[in-house]
């Protein structure tokens, strides 16, 4: 990575990419907070204490929990959305850089996502 010039960010495509990524971050944050806010309201209605033992994370039950209006379903989905938002931002940036012919930055994006994937893999392996 060292020794190569970093291109200027002033180009129109660079500004468009930054604007698109900004909108993606805003959308992900609002969606996540909206989902978690619904979960908190349902916690208040159901009288669920934050200090109660929560069901463990299981992606396969989230949809059923949401359809049953259980707070934990909305909370888990909101958490997944906020954790995914920076990852989607990196992926979108990588695609944008690739489309603009900036192969080096596209590879950086792929490498970041690979590091995250290693983290998930290690977490799953150690836990089980």
């Amino acid at each position: 990575m060292t020794g190569a010039p970093m291109p200027s960010a002033t180009g129109r495509s660079g500004r468009d990419l930054e604007r698109s990524v900004a909108r993606l971050l805003t959308g992900g944050t609002y969606l996540s907070i909206g989902l978690m806010a619904v979960g908190v309201v349902l916690m208040l209605i159901d009288g669920v204490s934050p200090l109660a033992i929560a069901p463990p994370f299981d992606p396969s039950t989230i949809l059923a929990d949401i359809l049953a209006l259980r707070p934990v379903g909305f909370l888990w989905l909101g958490l997944l959305v906020i954790l995914a938002t920076p990852l989607v931002r990196v992926a979108a940036s990588g695609i944008g850089f690739a489309a603009a012919g900036e192969r080096r930055m596209a590879l950086v994006a792929v490498a970041i996502l690979a590091v995250i994937a290693v983290g998930v893999f290690l977490g799953v392996v150690v836990e089980h």
């Binding site: 970093m6 009288g47 204490s49 934990v72 983290g119």
Partner: protein, 276 residues
């Protein structure tokens, strides 16, 4: 206390962390972890997992504004993110091997460091930027000219320091549930020659990936409680939104001095937890 009362108290605690974090230029993590551990009696590791989620919320919201205004340097941020994410991967794995006492001791050091940097911080005059006018020639040929009209073109020096510092910031972030801006902003500004505004904006952008890399490990290993994370994250979002709208109307100098005392008292209590 009724269950609903505890949930509302947790929303209020998150809102306080978001509000004061926003007013004082602190990430929420340094405030959220003590609130959840010392205030609600949660284990430190669980508080760190929740704090990482809250940190992603505030950094994503702030980074979107900085990108929209073309202040953040997306290319520099992504280049350094590779190393903060790697550091976070290491820190997130090590965090589950350390005892609660060791984590509390590390957090005590963080609180004292934060109090020290807050006490030394000066109010910048409008347009003031501490970026040195002269410095060594660009180490890597990295130059950039942001699209924001108020930020002059700048050259990036010492990329190697940036890489090492980013790795360290990632490890600290994952261990203690903070964004790591306390490390990254001075590193980019003072060592790499990035203007302060750009360094702050780029750090905010990087925090999302740094915190997400370790938060995913906490999630997979059962270290994030949705019943705590939900109310705290919603509160932090509300508090930070209010803080960003009122910051320009409030003289934060007295507030900053009060918070130095609060941080030192909290450090004392956290030290007691470390020695338990």
């Amino acid at each position: 206390m009724p269950d609903a009362g505890i949930a509302l108290l947790m929303v209020a605690g998150g809102a306080a962390a978001g509000l004061f974090g926003s007013l004082l230029g602190l990430g929420g993590g340094v405030l959220i972890v003590p609130i959840l551990t010392l205030g609600f009696g949660l284990p430190l590791r669980e508080a760190v997992g929740v704090s990482l989620v809250a940190v992603i919320v505030t950094s994503s919201a702030a980074a979107s504004v900085y990108l929209e205004r073309h202040v953040a340097n997306l290319r520099l941020g992504m280049s350094l993110e590779l190393f903060t994410a790697t550091g976070a991967l290491i820190g997130g794995t090590v965090a589950f091997l350390l005892s609660e006492q060791v984590l509390a001791a590390l957090f005590t050091v963080l609180l004292v460091y934060t109090a020290f940097t807050m006490a030394r911080r000066h109010e910048p005059a409008p347009g003031d930027d501490p970026t040195p006018d002269e410095g060594p020639p660009p180490a890597s040929g990295f130059t950039t000219a942001p699209a924001h009209p108020e930020i002059p073109p700048y050259a990036i020096h010492h990329l190697g320091w940036g890489i090492v510092g980013s790795l360290f910031a990632g490890v600290v972030s994952a261990l203690l549930g903070i964004g790591g801006g306390l490390i990254k902003v001075p590193l980019m500004n003072l060592a790499m020659g990035v203007p302060l505004r750009v360094a702050t904006a780029t750090s905010n952008l990087m925090i999302g990936i740094t915190a997400a890399a370790s938060a995913i490990i906490y999630l997979v290993r059962g270290g994030i409680d949705p019943y705590v994370a939900g109310p705290t994250a919603v509160g932090v979002f509300l508090g930070a939104s209010l803080g960003s709208r009122t910051a320009h109307r409030i003289d934060v100098r007295l507030l900053r001095l009060m918070f130095v005392v609060v941080l030192l008292v909290t450090a004392w209590q956290m030290a007691g937890r470390a020695l338990r």
